[in-house]
Amino acid sequence: MNWYGVKAIYQFEMARWLRTLGQSLAAPVLSTSLYFIVFGTAIGSRMGDVGGVSYGAFIIPGLMMLSILNESIGNASFGIYFPKWSGTVFEILSAPLSWRELLLGYVGAATTKSMLLGCLILATARLFVPYEIQHPLWMLCFLFLTAVSFSLFGFLIGLWAETWERLQTVPLLLITPLTFLGGAFYSIDMLPPLWQKLTLLNPVLYLISGFRWSFYGIADVHVGISVVMIFLFLLVCLLTARWMIVSGYRLKR
């Protein structure tokens, strides 16, 4: 293993993030706060409890997921797209790094950032709504798995994208709707039966459901299914990433 290489990439990515720390952290924290104010406090106070949990607390896991998904994808996709765009990727390609080391460096850094962000949002939420976490270890596991798998997914998007537009539209067109429709703001048994069935096709539902279970012990689908789905997603991303890096697809001419 080229650990020095992994470390170099990891530090490079973290340094990039630290340079724009304000923007990196303030924006997601601010937007999450706005959600809490609007949905948690203003509207939530007029809503009943969901599954025995106040509405403001109910949406915390979903909101965290929304931010983590966006940040993981945004960060990891930029991390690899930028060197492709600027041409500095030549050095990465010429370095003695296997696909594993490349992923450890880039995806590892993006995961770290997302985890930190997740914790920060959790702390911010405290200012608005009281909540408890029933299964803190599971919560961390879900947080970690989500951060890893979506950082990896973001890395894939960065590898695949050939224009800035594509880099930005995928998260926008895919992730935001999937998160909103994946039960970030409601439990799916509030939906008509047909929509309940359709929602089951949405992978983000499993994330949010599992994550919410770790908080409050309530879930739309069994937590085991959530874990299996996340691992499946992770596996598919991993295999795709390996193939892309080894073959040089969209990396090497």
Partner: protein, 314 residues
């Protein structure tokens, strides 16, 4: 020239082909061996395939067929061992604008699997006159300075094989001399250097061997000295006291030409030959009572040779 044996070759390229995605064939069955410790100059006009060849060796472009080994390691199957030994200064000035010179050089060393070594980085930066710029963002540097940064990055992990793809393009005289010095120093230290350049005097000055690539084919690989001897011509130009209309019949067996409206008599001879025939020429001119007031001898440069080769192949 002498056969390259496996023992003294450090880079071995066999049957290398490259067809780009758009169907363009940039390399056609390249075979090339680079000897350990030499400076090899790869010459060729724009679009000949120099960068493509270097990029394949370094792992930036996929080959369509063929194989490359670096220090005995296959650059695909044993890419780790192969790439650790290779440093590349690319043709394009691609740098991380927001990083400092120090950070980017350090980064490169780590990337290539070496533990941090500030003393080495300092040495490299100093040798390239970059030391006083070490804390500046690359963004603020001039083009020539960026080129130096790229060289520093390539040297950061102490490679034993160094590829310089047009290292002196757009570089001022002073830096060019600095660079030659750095390159010579590396060679002294045993580093094998492969460079491309459009300044042929540079190849003439630095290279041990020269390869010429044209339309994706290597058309010549030769010791520079031998090349200059074989293909280089020497000329002796005599400034005549009286202009001539034509070469006297008695002298037509000699390789003589008139130029400068008959005022200059040019004698061309092979630089390789033991007897140049100059003594005989002067004797016979005296016999013919042809007198001159000045004479100048000149040698053709590698540039002339190169231009001739490329022209003849087209």
């Amino acid at each position: 020239m002498s056969e390259t044996t496996a023992a003294d070759s450090i880079v071995a390229i066999k049957g290398l082909n490259k067809r780009y995605a758009n169907g363009f064939v940039a390399l056609k069955s390249i075979d090339l061996e680079i000897r350990r410790g030499e400076i090899f100059a790869l010459l060729g006009p724009n679009g000949a395939g120099k960068t493509t060849l270097i990029n394949i060796v370094c792992g930036i472009v996929n080959a369509s067929a063929g194989s490359v080994t670096a220090d005995g390691y296959d650059t695909v199957d044993q890419f780790r061992q192969a790439r650790m030994r290779i440093g590349l200064v690319p043709q394009e000035l691609n740098t991380d604008a927001f990083e400092t010179v120090w950070a980017t050089t350090r980064f490169s060393r780590g990337l290539f699997g070496k533990p941090a070594n500030p003393a080495h980085i300092e040495k490299v930066l100093r040798s390239l006159s970059l030391w006083d710029k070490k804390d500046e963002k690359i963004l603020t540097l001039s083009g020539g300075m960026k080129r130096r940064v790229l060289i520093a990055k390539a040297l950061s992990h102490e490679p034993t094989i160094l590829f310089l793809d047009e290292p002196t393009a757009g570089v001022d005289v002073e830096l060019r001399h600095d660079m030659w010095e750095v390159v010579h120093g590396l060679r002294e230290a045993g580093v094998t250097i492969i460079l491309t350049t459009h300044y042929i005097e540079e190849a003439e000055k630095m290279a041990d061997r020269v390869g010429v690539i044209l339309n994706g084919e290597i058309i010549l690989v030769e010791e520079k000295a031998a090349l200059m001897r074989q293909l280089g011509k020497r000329q002796l130009a005599l400034q005549l006291n009286e202009a001539m209309q034509q070469i006297p019949a008695e002298l037509t067996d000699l390789p003589l030409e008139l130029s400068n409206e008959g005022k200059t008599l040019v004698y061309t001879f092979n630089a390789q030959g033991e007897s140049t025939g100059v003594a005989e020429l002067l004797n016979r001119l005296a016999t013919q009572r042809i007198s001159f007031h000045d004479l100048k001898s000149s040698e053709s440069s590698l540039e002339d040779i190169f231009v001739n080769i490329v022209r003849n192949q087209r």
